[in-house]
């Protein structure tokens, strides 16, 4: 990939329904918070140009539906992602429990190397009253530490009050860019992308 070419980085945002994925994404892209978002069906998609270490990159942000069954729609959806953001609601313990499921699902679908692939874990809605807190920062950090050697970074954020949102996506961009360049090396091993497709086609056809 030449240096002049515009770099597209694909970022997938996962997490349970209602944790605030759409809000986070819109806060980052449009700098606004609204309570009026509708439930996301399938996937929504936004782009934003950012500068990472003096390099202009375009982030493609894929905001997904939180309901589990929507995964049967997007079989190839996670593929080609450069970074994965998993969001939970700090006031909802169940949404935190799901984080590991989402991570496993992503790794499984993309056949990624668990250690290398960058994940950003985000506890959203920290603007709420402290009494509502169900997942402590300590617990979240413990979880991230427990995955030895994995590339996981944890943030707590508030899409509503725009706390940590910029930092968070800056990290996302940086990790995605790093991952993208390493992925490029891999792709370069196969200079003819079609070579990859041929056995695939044969397999899917002859098995049908």
């Amino acid at each position: 990939m030449s240096a002049q070419k515009r770099v597209f980085l694909k970022v997938v945002i996962l997490g349970d329904s209602g944790v605030g994925k759409t809000c986070l994404m819109n806060q980052f892209v449009n700098q606004k918070f609204s309570r009026e978002y509708k439930a996301t069906i399938g996937a929504d998609f936004l782009t934003k140009d950012v500068v990472v270490d003096d390099k202009l990159v375009t982030l493609q942000l894929w905001d997904t539906a939180g309901q589990e069954r929507f995964q049967s729609l997007g079989m190839a959806f996670y593929r080609g992602a450069d970074c994965c953001v998993i969001v939970y609601n700090v006031n909802n313990s169940k949404s935190f429990d799901s984080v590991e499921n989402w991570r496993q699902e992503f790794l499984y679908q993309t056949s990624q190397d668990e250690c290398a692939f960058p994940f950003i874990i985000v506890g959203n809605q920290i603007d709420k009253d402290a009494s509502k807190r169900a997942v402590s920062l300590h617990r979240a950090l413990d979880y991230c530490k427990s995955k030895h050697g994995s590339n996981m970074i944890h943030f707590e954020a508030s899409a509503k009050e725009n706390t940590n949102v910029t930092d968070l996506f800056e990290t996302v961009s940086r990790l995605a860019l790093e991952n993208e360049s390493s992925r490029d090396d891999f792709v370069n091993d196969f200079s003819e992308p079609l070579l990859l497709s041929k056995p695939l086609n044969n397999t899917s056809s002859c098995n049908c």
Binding site: G18, G42, F45, S72, Q109, F190, S204
Partner: protein, 635 residues
Amino acid sequence: MAGITEHSTIMNDANFKEENAHLSDASIHFGSSEQDKTPSDYELDDVLDLYNDTTEDDADDADDVNNYIMSPSSSLSSESEHALDALVYPIYSHHNILEHENNSDYASITPSNHPAFTSCAYLQNPVVDSNNEYESKFRLSLEIPPTDFLSTSTELSKRESCLSTETSSSKFSAVTAATITNETQSEKRSSQTDPSLPFKTNSLNCDVTYEEGPLTKKLRGPKKYKPSHSSWDIYGFKKANQFYTVDQYNTWYGPYSRYLERREQRWKLFLQENGIDYIHQSPSIFPSRSAKTQRFIRKGIPPEYRGNAWFYYSGGYELLQRNPKLYETLWRCACIKKPSDSDLIERDLYRTFPDNVHFRHKSKHSRNSSDASEHSSEEPDVPMISKLRRVLMTFATYLPENGYCQSLNFLAGFFLLFMSEEKAFWMLVITCRKYLPKMHDANLEGANIDQSVLMASVRESLPAVWSRISLNFDGIPVNDIVAKLPPITLVTAAWFMSAFVGILPTETALRVWDCFFYEGSKVLFMTALCILRLGEDDIKSKSEQTEVFQVIQDLPKSLLDANAFLSLCFRRNFRRTPSQKDIERRREKVAKKRNSSASKLEMSDSSKHHLSRSSSRFSKSHIISQLHNHLKKST
């Protein structure tokens, strides 16, 4: 290359040169993939060839519609028909559920003679009859035991009678049933002490309402279409959004309001011609199917009649008559045993139409609380939210194996604006059973099928668009659209699942719905193709896949001019979409193909890992992609 020859016959002369140049481009693109195809791919292409039928006649279409949608006209609002139904479908047949009813928990909820329960019992009885194949198929589908709870109560009653009868449909052993009942009871107990529960499970008072939708009433008076300077449209939605301003909306709406007036006058004459009273009440019967009716529908149903017309033409009155009080009964069941998706439903209530006055809290400042759960605990829900909750909870109870699927909230919300909650419930049932079968199922099978059918249509009729959207994320063209859908289907699947609610501007979506419930699901395909056709030039001009996605995602949202859009959808030389029968046929073929490829892949894949994981997550598609990865590594 059949598709390309076909395509050239439909091209306008003026565009021929340009399009042809593009086509050769496309054919190079497809040329390489063509070689990779196996016979089974060709067979499928043939199956999915949308243009084998060249019939474009309106009359033909009308016939087709008649075959597809069960005609409700004969049995509607007719006392004698209803009486006949009672004879033909005796409620107390097969299993003597009612005899044991007093022994079950159910007795405490519903008095033994309550008609609500008899209608539930009716649902458990097989009904075999009808000359109309479609109708009987549809009715049979209603025999699925509607709730865990009902099966439980059936089982319980049988246990009490020494397990003398066996039902094929029963899912639970007596022991399980007892456990479940215990759970139910403990849930009941806990609910009395837990105020945070979304609805009062200990309340046996049925708060189901039977009032019409707010818009049916509101849009009955004079001057209802008059343009206003308010920031809300006549349906209560916000006029402006990120795609157009209030001024732009008003500019369009001014002339359109006169169109609405004119159409209403025409409709009144039309109803009158057919001897339908519209003066004393909102009509609940409508002119029978004909080319003229279709024309009237395509030009838009007056909002005042809309709810009833949808209900009438989709066969709702018939279902309602056959299952009186079922809605209320199921809601009671839902109160006792919450459907498993109740949390999800609660979260979506305020995320359905936050931009509609009927779905918002009256007092603005109270909206300071920041999420749905807080809304419900701080102040009572507005009536529409309560209705939406009841309809969705009831629906999830009615089909427990599928439960609630996000996007049903949008459908239900639209229904509720125009009709009573009971009718909205039945419309939801009809939509999921008949118009969009399996689309909202636990594995979204129907959604996947329809996307394959749609992609085949795009490949045939819009090759230029197809060449841009057919690459997967690895930049490789997707050949077998059944085994592997192109990524854009993540966006287009949402169009179908929500039937364009929230995708098209309100008026445009309503106009599409008018046709949808009259003509069938082909209307959604026509709408989708029309949108892509409109964006064709824009799509062609984009070099990056990302930009193409953005165009396709945003395009429908700005299609404010409903008249222009609808007439484009149905324009003759533009109507390269299949008939409803073709859609049904293709859905079947794709479904078969999906099944067979899945079973073969599962066999070949069974030695591999992961099969022990939860089945809903591990559909065929997972296995296929897994296989691809495996191959990629071994290359």
